[in-house]
Symmetry: C2
Subunit: 242 residues, 2 copies
């Protein structure tokens, strides 16, 4: 199974000012594509931190997705940090300028120095189109660099999802049991032990005083998933005779 990590870049997330919704959006799509998201990291707008975290994750995972820091201002340093992480120059590129210019009334005439910053792309990278505001993201090696603004991030994810190899999606099935988690956990543990391949999650809920647990089974193999699902369902729906 292919592995991935998401790196959310931005002081505004770490200060609590902005809620990150991008990682959840992408996490759901990775599940559908059968890619195992192993970590999400939220890091500040800091050159050395971006460089070392992206470098580390890129060497450990099949895919790395970043969000944030590719706008026109002084705190947008993701592109240069990632260029230096792969030791390539960051240059204003014609195809990026074209995409950017399409977003302004007077085209290229409206591209001041700040806007042109958004056309700087690490050498060798492939562009990611931005249907919303023009300024492109890019893909370098296994790193997908996208905008932080959720609407733009989501549009870019739609663009790249075609580039991710189609593989078996991770399927999941949920069983809802109206008992306290601590009443069912011993029996559930036995299933987790018996079917080590299957991911079995146990999530307690409390809906206005009605307590229960959602048991979530996940695997790419539908037949195996259905077998274990039916077994657990039967076990927990019958009176417990243990």
């Amino acid at each position: 199974m292919k592995t991935a990590s998401i790196i959310i870049i931005g002081n505004e997330i770490l200060s609590g000012r902005t809620k990150d919704t991008n990682s959840n959006y992408l996490a759901k799509i990775l599940v559908e594509r059968g890619i195992l998201l192993q970590e999400v990291r939220v890091i500040p707008d800091n050159h050395n931190i971006i460089k070392s975290v992206v470098k580390g994750e890129s060497s450990l995972k099949d895919y790395v997705f970043t969000s944030g820091g590719i706008g026109p201002t002084h705190d947008d340093i993701t592109a240069e940090s990632i260029a230096s992480c792969f030791d390539v120059p960051l240059l204003v590129r014609d195809d990026a300028v074209e995409l950017l210019a399409m977003n302004y009334k007077n085209g290229k005439k409206d591209l001041n120095a700040a806007r042109l910053r958004m056309a700087r792309i690490p050498e060798g990278a492939k562009l990611i189109k931005n249907k919303i505001s023009g300024a492109p993201g890019f893909i370098i090696k296994n790193v997908f660099v996208m905008a932080g603004v959720p609407q733009i991030f989501e549009a870019m994810v739609q663009e790249i999802s075609l580039d991710l190899e189609p593989i078996e999606p991770i399927l999941s099935k949920t069983i809802k049991i109206f008992k306290r988690e601590s009443e069912i956990s011993e029996r559930l543990w036995q299933y987790a032990d018996r079917y080590k391949d299957i991911s079995i999650g146990s999530y307690p809920f409390n809906n206005s005083g009605v307590f229960g647990v959602e048991i979530v089974l996940s695997h790419t193999d539908k037949t195996l998933l259905n077998k274990v699902f039916n077994e657990i369902l039967l076990d927990f729906s019958e009176p417990n005779t243990n």
Copy 2:
């Protein structure tokens, strides 16, 4: 300034099934307490990963806060992973049993093996009370281990916030400018260059077609903050004669 990281533990976050709200809740409180949140990491329910990430963060930051994995089921492995991270035994502790028992109708008689798991505390740790459902969190060295369920996490954060040394809060002031980010970024950059101590963030917004930027200035020194705030406000509110 004291530094911190938050570690969110749980496959349900990485699969996109559950949105993490705990890191945003705590991030805001850390800002009020003047503690610099340097990273948020979302990691899976995996013994070795929890152990190595907590160990690493604990040695690098003043405070580490974890969320998730201290319930009664097989996938709740945070307590044992953190005990092994500090090389101490994990034992059922009387004071934790007392807190736990208070949550059940028949007190200790209701404590089956699964529930007793929630009274296992690494040796030497201090308990964090849980007003919501009894099962305590704990503090070991500089690591604060709390529940994943938001209501319980938030209650635990209220408990521990008294344990965090009261220091200067990070103050912030916001200036709203109704121009595109790329039109103001060059001038803003000069301020960021001149006042390197102050964190200057630039956050574009688009409210139904009205474009603008929120400039957020942050620092613990109120006088310095006000000085720079007034300077930028005056600059951007006057006609640009450059």
